[in-house]
Symmetry: C2
Subunit: 415 residues, 2 copies
């Protein structure tokens, strides 16, 4: 191990989560306290902030104010969805990144995001190595989708799962209030991996859950779905189903597209009409049963509801950011600081484990089919055992006037 | 005042709120502890439970378990939307109610609901008086809509307002994460009164709020709206608007119907397609600006999100139920236990005040126009001053395994 002195950049990328700032704060705080790291910059809107020479001087922020970052949803530094080209095809961006790194003597780069961000990390790392520019590059995972390979789970998932399970429990009570019939369809995020949708099963574990859960891992049969809903409705006069936005039929067609077809998707200007999957399925169920129906899209709230974040998730996310910086200082590069689970005396413990960026960048982790029930419209105890530890603890978010006290950064741009 | 011994019935009616059970629990607990009240029955699904002779013996519930009712959303006893006919037109229901009251020696009737429930109370009260059957009848208000006349505010509103303001603050952070443009339209409940939608202004008060707020109290001009959104978007590349589900144009047509018209509302079976107002407006904004848009319907969650209820609202709701029982025991009848606000040393204080049921039943309280800003697309400090005390305090809801611990009633039906 060699001691490497220099500045660091921390960037955030991809879609928001309730806790991505907890990771960023873990990294920023640790970097600010380190003797090795001379300056701490936040990239304004991820890698675009590097390309645009828009770096926030994190040392100028008030430490007490900065601490609120741990509980503020979405990316406080700003995010982007910018994919670097292969450097062998076009190295313009890489040359610019190197230029900026040299300008600010950046020797540490931390990137906080999902698959694409790990890919960005990996590409920059390889380029810097090829150029002989010494720089340690670490990925810090985040995604509500929980689909990153290697790591036991992803920062952000626990909070989203907690929000979904809690909301479904509340919807369960709401939807049963009358003695008349009601069918409720709830739509959760997760285009290819069903982790978020599956978290509704945690509500079942508490006896206040949905009758049916459909993940994108299993081909969706509209007719079979309507038959099942109809059967449950006839028996109980109530039926709640939670579906993933990404459910597809056996031919791979998104069920959400069925709705768009039906409502003659284009308006007079040729624009597609927005049509929610939950509304479409609710409407189909209405046709089949005549029941009162309600379609509910959890929408953005499932990824930004910091007020109901899991404190376990917040603490683990912070730890991932902190560890990434500590490992980099100790000489590690080109890794992602992910999680490994163990049980000590039957109690869940989460430790940091390093993963190769290449593995993370190019694989997508799905819900194991053996965690589904036999009819594949629900989850079994294996999933509950997996997910339950991740949603523990209430967020210690500060409140002011009965509302969340989110961080307010000065964002002084470095010259 | 005369001492009246006998049983009581507590019923819940109308749509769910996060805290209607806090009121019911306040009434049930107080009744169970009273010497005057010999038996405490919960009406299963409101007045329908009385008509169907389906009364839950609340004395059979475990007191510790029952205490969870205070934090459980929706109506634990079940609700209904049953409107009694005028007794001079058809007194069948009234005769049946009297029969049940006599069967169980019911001398106290508490009904927990909105305008229609106060109307039910009032009608039963008048009938019993005419029949010479001694019975004390009290209304306990609830409605997220906050539209009951007389009372300063309604149990349920504070929690819904807190949820909406919190969610809009979180959406604010989410919607600004990229440096690309984005227009977000959030739809809140409240068909005729804009109290719920107005509560988004509390997010503004914290500096994380919407650019525009549209209440049903003000005629909505689609063209003017799109111009304003377009202007803000051009200036800031972000625009968030919160609209009431009940906004209407100057001719009184619901804007939500515009969307239904556009998407050729009927499908091949002749059923109306469900079309969200938020999606419609977002789509129109997209056509006008080319921006990325998102329509978010807060849906059921705004009325049942007990996990983010206001403890002030919970405590006040409990007090309303408790006071209704205490006043009835002391000899009062035919009143609603509402709220009166005062300020002691500048500090908000909420006291119980009794209101005539007739006043409450037939009037609808709207947001005063002088609480809107000059352009009528936002609220001013008068609204903030009114609403802020109502959202204070975090719910002391018990948790189990990281999820809410809601009440589980045995519901033993009385014979």
């Amino acid at each position: 191990m060699s001691l490497l002195k220099g500045a660091c950049i921390i960037g955030q990328s991809g879609g928001p989560t309730s806790v991505i700032n907890a990771s960023a704060y873990g990294a920023i705080k640790t970097a600010l306290e380190s003797d090795c790291i001379t300056k701490v910059y936040g990239a304004s809107n991820g890698i675009k902030g590097v390309l645009d020479d828009k770096l926030i001087d994190m040392g100028m922020e008030d430490p007490t104010e900065l601490a609120h970052m741990k509980y503020t949803p979405s990316s406080a530094l700003g995010s982007c969805r910018y994919k670097l080209k292969d450097s062998t095809v076009d190295d313009t961006d890489y040359m610019r990144i190197l230029e900026i790194f040299k300008k600010y003597d950046v020797r540490y780069f931390f990137y906080n995001g999902g698959n694409d961000s790990m890919d960005t990390c990996n590409k920059i790392s390889k380029y810097m190595l090829a150029q002989g520019y010494e720089c340690r590059i670490m990925g810090i995972p985040k995604t509500i989708d929980n689909d990153l390979a290697g790591t036991d789970h992803c920062p952000g998932y626990g909070s989203a799962a907690k929000y979904i399970a809690t909301s479904v429990m509340e919807i369960y009570h709401d939807a049963r209030v009358y003695d008349t019939g009601m069918i409720t369809i709830v739509e959760a995020m997760g285009r290819n991996a069903g982790w978020l949708t599956a978290s509704a099963a945690l509500a079942n574990y508490k006896g206040n859950g949905p009758d049916l859960i459909y993940l994108p891992e299993v081909p969706f049969d509209l007719e079979a779905f309507l038959e099942k809903v109809s059967e449950i409705y006839k028996k109980n006069t109530k039926c709640i189903a939670v579906v993933s936005e990404g459910i597809r039929d056996k031919d791979g067609k998104y069920i959400s597209e069925y709705g768009a077809d039906l409502s003659q998707s284009k308006d007079s200007f040729g624009h597609a009409q927005l049509g929610g999957l939950a509304s479409f399925l609710a409407n189909e169920a209405k046709k089949r049963t005549g029941a009162k129906v309600r379609g509910i899209e959890l929408s953005l709230l499932q990824r930004c509801a910091a007020h109901s974040a899991s404190q376990t998730d917040i603490d683990e996310s912070f730890l991932a950011g902190k560890s990434a910086v500590e490992y980099a200082i100790s000489g590690i590069t080109d890794k992602m600081a992910g999680f490994e689970r163990s049980y000590v005396d039957g109690k869940y413990v989460c430790n940091i484990k390093l993963f190769d960026l290449t593995i993370v960048a190019n694989t997508e982790k799905k819900v194991p089919l053996e965690w589904l029930n036999s009819t594949r419209d629900g989850l079994n105890e294996k999933f509950i055992e997996y997910a339950l530890p991740l949603i523990q603890g209430e967020s210690q978010l500060a409140r002011e006037d009965g509302l969340p006290r989110f961080v307010k950064l000065k964002k002084v741009i470095a010259k």
